[in-house]
């Protein structure tokens, strides 16, 4: 491999590194972000290859040994396990958050439906408070969750629902629907807490650290493999970099369930809202 015009490689290396950071933090459409991430990673490793070889030219193996191959296989396997673990964790969190949203919306709809079995004032109160809660969650809280926040008015509407049931008169408390209603209310409250918790949950920093370090190590190891044809080695490191970049992209996409391009939408609440509005007195 020839090491002329190293400064060009330095510029490309640093530029693509900076681009990776920008793409990672910018709010881009999913496809664009994925393509740019892979492209920047490929440029990075291709620019880094001659730099690495130039820096340690005396120790680069001309012939690959069995030991080298075995070490690479171990590093690769460990990294693949880490990637698998991370993807499973974030995707599991994502699907759970999605299920929690559906559960919360269902509990609200059930609560409102069961309120018809109570006296007129109770039914009217529950209907209005449910409508308010669903409306605020859809129109306000969903946007707030992308910034890892919650809406105090949604919390107030939930508190109002609790107040309706805890301040009921003795006749309403004797209603057979009272206990199931309290159960649904608990479910609604629990689901809300889980949803808000999910909106602020992150993949732990240590996992990210291992993720990045593992990716860098795997690529760097390929740098030091002895390959006769330059373009073959470039293809190998490019493929590896693309796979690592796609893994990062996958984990990033599902890391925060309520923000980004793969964000969970409030469809379940919108359905409840349409239903409640259609029955509004």
């Amino acid at each position: 491999m020839k090491h002329h015009r190293l400064w060009i490689h330095w510029i490309l290396f640093l530029g693509s590194g900076a681009a990776l950071v920008v793409i990672r933090t910018a709010d881009l459409p999913a496809v664009v972000a994925g393509v740019l991430l892979v492209a920047a990673a490929v440029v990075l490793v291709n620019a880094g290859l001659p730099l690495a070889r130039h820096g340690v030219r005396h120790v680069v193996a001309e012939q690959n040994s069995a030991v080298q191959a075995a070490v690479f296989a171990i590093v690769g396997s460990l990294y693949a396990t880490l990637v698998h673990f991370s993807v499973v964790v974030v995707y599991d969190g994502y699907t759970r958050a999605d299920a929690t949203v559906a559960q919360e919306a269902n509990a609200l709809a059930d609560l409102e439906r069961m309120s018809k079995g109570f006296s007129g004032p109770v039914h009217r109160q529950v209907q209005e408070a449910s409508l308010t809660y669903a409306s605020i969650v859809v129109n306000d809280e969903w946007h707030t969750m992308t910034r890892r926040g919650s809406d105090p008015q949604a919390q107030a509407a939930l508190a109002e629902l609790w107040t309706i049931y805890t301040s009921m008169g003795p006749r309403d408390r004797e209603n057979a629907l009272y206990a199931p209603s309290i159960e649904r209310l608990n479910q609604l409250d629990d689901s809300r807490r889980v949803r808000l918790r999910a909106s602020v949950r992150d993949v732990p920093s240590v996992v990210w650290l291992m993720f990045y370090c593992g990716g860098v190590l795997a690529v760097v190891m390929v740098f030091f493999f002895g390959v006769r044809r330059d373009w073959v080695q470039r293809v190998i490191v490019s493929v590896l970099a693309a796979v690592v970049a796609l893994s990062v992209f996958l984990v990033t996409s599902f890391e925060q369930p309520f923000s980004g391009n793969s964000a969970i939408t409030p469809d379940a609440f919108e359905t409840v809202l349409i239903h409640l509005r259609s029955r509004e007195r």
Binding site: S119, P121, S135, A159, S167, M168, G169, P170
Partner: protein
């Protein structure tokens, strides 16, 4: 040398124009109406509201005005009478070039003004708590609806074991509708109304009501008495042995401002008579909040006020809420401002309030206070969160509330209070009563 001096002068001019805020006097002033009673029986209660509004307008001007314009208050006198409020509002909207008015205190004034604002496309910001039962598209209600202070306060007493309630109020629209709501709430929640009396506005003939209370021995008196009736009622009630002997019957006051503003003399002269009674409100002067402390200190220093009431705080905050909406809309046109107000929030003295997207009322925290021997009101309970405003209490249907209001208005000869010398109207049917 001349070129250098010219450059220096030009540089200075550019620098000064860059750092100096826009002169609010450069554009035509922005007139706003401030309409409270300066004369008549409510003048004392409404003067602090006028002062708080003017103070807020001055604060806005101190920060460069609104949209580059100086805000000029046009003061008007409602003379403590609904019809005069309506006339004054009409004059502000048609002759003074005003589009937005801050004002009104008594329900009669608000209800009389609403048709005027709807007819002329103006915008009213109304600061007082009220009885509900209306949602005009031309009013931003910055006081509370009954579910934001009355219902939670009554529930607090139910939760603490009180079951037998005596309702007493002055005979005008606010006490009638508010106490009808309390009646419905108690019926639904397992409480009992043992007696209900309405005294003519400002009447001092309280003996019969006090005697009934003594006989019936309720757990709590829910009072919506206003004006000059308060002093004789509570003095007579609390005289030794008057309320039944050794057990003192506490009272819950729903007209908090009356207590904070009008009964100062009564409280200081006969502190023991009202000490221990309760007040339902959204704000108390003593709230330990930095913004509130600053507001209270400034208001008292400036106007020499003895107290700052719930309505005074709302009258002040609503001007800033309007200013925020005007800035967000980039316009002072009522329609634009109304659109901008919806969903807005403002850090008012005593906590953040949120404007409802649907009904142009504010989400507020309910509070219950107890009057101490020194006349101060100490908060004993607060709702865990702000409460959604419900202009039509769910204890009855909207049609039932409208029917009640109509029954009272027509029964009083198209007035919002019992006419002088008029008989007490029969109570309407109470849905949900056992």
């Amino acid at each position: 040398m001349i070129a250098l001096m010219t450059a220096a002068v030009l540089g200075y001019v550019l620098l000064v124009s860059a750092v100096t805020p826009a002169d609010p006097h450069a554009l035509p002033p922005l007139k706003v109406g401030i309409l409270y009673s300066h004369t008549g029986r409510l003048a004392d209660s409404e003067k602090p509201l006028n002062d708080a509004t003017v103070m807020a307008v001055e604060e806005i001007n101190e920060h460069g005005g609104l949209l580059g314009r100086e805000v000029v208050p046009v003061l008007a006198d409602g003379q403590s009478e609904g019809r005069r409020f309506a006339r004054a509002a009409e004059k502000l909207l048609t002759r003074e070039g005003v589009r937005t008015v801050f004002g009104g205190y008594a329900s009669a004034a608000r209800r009389s003004m609403i048709p005027v604002f709807e007819r002329h496309g103006g915008l009213l910001f109304y600061p007082a708590v009220y009885e509900g039962g209306e949602t005009s598209r031309r009013v931003v209600y910055t006081g509370a609806t009954p579910n934001q202070y009355i219902t939670p306060a009554v529930q607090w007493f139910l939760d603490n074991g009180d079951r037998r309630f005596f309702l007493v109020g002055s005979d005008y629209i606010y006490p009638r509708v508010s106490l009808a709501l309390v009646h419905s709430q108690l019926t639904a929640a397992g409480g009992k109304v043992v007696g209900e009396d309405y005294l003519p506005p400002d009447s001092k003939k309280v003996s019969d009501t006090v005697r009934r209370i003594r006989e019936l021995k309720p757990d709590l008196i829910v009072s919506a008495l206003a004006g000059d009736t308060n002093a004789p009622f509570f003095t007579r009630l609390r005289k030794k042995g008057a309320d039944g002997g050794s057990v003192r019957i506490p009272a819950l006051n729903l007209v908090a401002d009356e207590w904070e503003l009008r009964s100062q003399d009564t409280r200081s002269k006969a502190g023991a008579y009202v000490a221990g009674d309760y007040v339902a409100a959204n704000y108390f002067e003593e709230l330990p909040d930095a913004a509130n402390t600053r507001f209270v200190a400034k208001f008292k220093k400036r106007y020499g006020a003895a107290h700052v009431s719930d309505t005074v705080a709302a009258a002040y905050a609503q001007v800033h809420l309007w200013a925020r909406a005007v800035r967000a809309a980039g316009s002072v046109e009522p329609q634009e401002v109304l659109r901008s107000v919806r969903g807005a929030s403002f850090r008012a003295p005593g906590g953040t309030v949120y404007a409802d997207r649907e009904n142009r009322h504010l989400w507020k925290r309910a509070r219950l206070g107890r009057i101490g021997l020194d006349g101060r009101i100490e908060q004993v309970w607060s709702s865990e969160a702000v409460i959604r405003p419900a202009p039509y209490s769910p204890y009855r249907s909207k049609q039932d509330w409208d029917r009640l209001v109509s029954h009272l208005y027509h029964g009083w000869g198209e007035r919002w209070e019992r006419p002088p010398g008029g008989p007490e109207l029969s109570q309407e049917s109470r849905p949900g009563s056992p």
